[in-house]
């Protein structure tokens, strides 16, 4: 049994060193001098704007990726289009791809000489260094989550319930609304939680396409970096703690959804 204790000490020790201690320290540093400096740090204009911008982007990205995620999952599971393997790979790619490659891709596409950028700028539509490109970048990186959660559930429930509904007279839309959607609701919820967390936490791709102008095109994650590099450690830690609290909320929601799924 000492082997088990030994493994426990080893693994928990590793966890403490790599994960728990550093994150714990940030909380300590942020609230070291009381809640006042923390509050002051996150209520300055730039920080507030950064938070609002992050939430705005998330508010667009999450519904988009949820709706299209469900459609993609249906297409992947129910329709044997040739090349489905490639589509699957496209959906999974954002998980394996560096965010800087994503940022670069959008930078090339929507820049002055880009395939789309040239035409769009000519018509007065600003994509790079503005909200649209930030939304596109965040959409790319958070695309897989809803799809990947829904696909296995769709596969498992099979088509029998939908066929039953058809024989009972339900149209395709009604079947989707009353049979398919309820069957995948927990998978969708879990996917939404993950998508939201990823959107809020996006940094690399957005850094490249947004320019990070404080008070204009700077998300909360970019604010953390900018503050640190401007020697405003308090500001950086405060914003980090805020983001960490959002992350912890995400973890709690994940647990709640998982439990809700298991009990249904």
């Amino acid at each position: 049994m000492t082997a088990r204790r030994g493994i426990r000490a080893f693994s928990l020790g590793y966890l403490a060193i790599i994960l728990v201690a550093p994150v714990g320290l940030i909380f300590w540093r942020a609230f070291e001098h009381g809640i006042h400096p923390f509050w002051a740090a996150i209520s300055n204009a730039n920080a507030v704007h950064a938070l609002k911008l992050t939430l705005e982007i998330t508010a667009v990205v999450v519904p988009l990726n949820t709706a299209f995620g469900i459609l993609c999952a249906l297409a992947i599971v129910r329709h044997r289009i040739p090349g489905m393997g490639f589509v699957n790979a496209l959906v999974d790619l954002p998980l394996a791809l560096s965010p800087v490659v994503v940022g670069l891709a959008l930078y090339l596409l929507y820049g002055r000489d880009g395939w789309f950028g040239h035409w769009l700028l000519g018509h007065g539509v600003q994509v790079l260094f503005a909200l649209p490109s930030m939304v596109l970048a965040t959409t790319f990186v958070s695309l897989p989550f809803v799809v990947r959660e829904v696909v296995p559930v769709l596969r498992e429930i099979g088509t029998q319930q939908e066929e039953a509904a058809a024989t009972l007279g339900a149209s395709a839309l009604t079947t989707f609304r009353r049979i398919t959607l309820p069957a995948i609701r927990w998978a969708v919820s879990y996917g939404v939680v993950l998508t939201t967390a990823r959107s809020v936490g996006e940094f690399g791709a957005v850094s490249i396409v947004s320019g990070g102008i404080a008070g204009r095109t700077q998300t909360l994650t970019q604010y953390v970096q900018a503050s640190y590099e401007n020697f405003d450690q308090t500001g950086a830690y405060a914003a980090s703690v805020l983001l960490a609290m959002l992350a912890i909320t995400t973890l709690l929601l994940m647990t709640v959804v998982r439990r809700g799924d298991r009990s249904s």
């Binding site: 029998q160 319930q161 066929e163 039953a164 509904a165 058809a166 024989t167 009972l168 007279g169 339900a170 149209s171 009604t174 009353r178 049979i179 309820p182 069957a183 609701r185 249904s264």
Partner: protein, 331 residues
């Protein structure tokens, strides 16, 4: 609602599920589609329901062509082998589904669902979820759900296959009674010949995508159209050219005329039926069925030497067609 399928052929990739199948089902009848796995019976049922479209051939419902009509519009009630319950809805909502789709008034739905719960003996379980029901209860719910919108055709795909033996027997009787009361044209698929013979007015025997024979149960058993049907519908002994049912073999202790010698290998007593396995002196094995009384009279024991004689034999020619049965003999 009379159903007719004409020259239906259906392929799944390389696999030929239905090969030029034509059947005709009388309105109000109870028809069984019987056959081994892969015989195409479920596919045929699904084609009739509109859940599959045939590559070749037509389906007629009440005389009108329905081959391309969507399942929603066919007025068909379908019961799946694994029930396909709407797991996130209560039993009540499951049964009410077809009616709520048709936007019937609340009172009507309430009345009808209550009536059906009573009919399938699930009263009081309306608020439960399918996962809280037993297999037999779930199947009754699936039936109630299919019947709720008063379909003119009821299709059941191996409805009792996933249940244990006792529940199966109960539900079989129950289906018969239901059919007697409601007279809905019913077609059910099964691989269990006992079930088909017990329940159906008319049986369609299928094999490898083709129809082997269509006949009422008695005719199927007594006058099988070919060797496949004969051996599928009941146990059979092959003695050279002759096909003999186990209960058509007579055992005696004394040779009388043409009887042949055989040795008793095994005796199994199954209540009313007694099965005797014998070996003839030419090595051929025989399986004989006796009633309890017959067995008692004979007082058989393993290793006894006895004499066997066939009462009825069937023979088939090279095309699998029946030829006139030879007079009782030993071959």
């Amino acid at each position: 609602m009379a159903i007719e399928a004409r020259n239906v052929t259906k392929r799944f990739g390389d696999f030929l599920a239905l090969d030029d199948v034509s059947i005709s089902v009388e309105s109000g009848s109870l028809t069984g589609l019987l056959g081994p796995s892969g015989s195409g019976k479920s596919t045929l049922l699904r084609v009739i329901a509109g859940l599959e479209t045939p590559d070749v051939g037509e389906v007629f419902i009440s005389g009108k062509e329905a081959t391309a009509v969507a399942p929603q519009k066919r007025g068909v009630g379908f019961v799946f082998q694994h029930y396909a319950p709407f797991t996130h809805m209560t039993v009540w909502d499951n049964i009410a589904f077809g009616l709520s789709i048709r936007r019937r008034p609340k009172e009507e739905i309430h009345a009808r669902v209550t009536e059906l719960l009573e009919l399938v003996q699930l009263n009081g379980l309306g608020k439960r979820y399918p996962s809280q029901l037993s297999g037999g209860q779930r199947q009754r719910m699936a039936l109630a759900r299919a019947l709720a919108a008063e379909p003119e055709l009821l299709l059941l795909d191996e409805p009792f296959g996933a249940l244990d033996a006792r529940v199966r027997k109960e539900l079989r009787e129950w289906l018969l009674r239901l059919h007697d009361e409601m007279h809905v044209t019913t077609i059910f698929v099964t691989h269990d010949q006992e079930e088909a013979l017990e329940v159906a007015d008319n049986v369609v025997v299928m094999n490898a995508g083709r129809v082997e024979q269509v006949a009422p149960p008695r005719e199927l058993y007594d006058e099988p159209a070919n060797p496949f049907v004969m051996s599928f519908v009941g146990p059979v002994n092959r003695l050279g050219e002759a096909w003999v049912r186990p209960h058509d073999i007579e055992i005696t202790h004394e040779p009388n005329g043409v009887a042949q010698e055989a040795q008793v290998e095994r005796i199994v007593r199954l209540g009313f039926e007694v099965r005797v396995d014998l070996v003839r002196d030419d090595g051929e094995r025989l399986h004989v069925q006796l009633t309890r009384n017959e067995a008692e009279v004979l007082e058989l024991a393993p290793s006894d030497i006895v004499y066997v004689r066939t009462r009825v034999e069937r023979t088939f020619n090279e095309n699998g067609e029946p030829t006139r049965p030879a007079p009782s003999s030993v071959s």
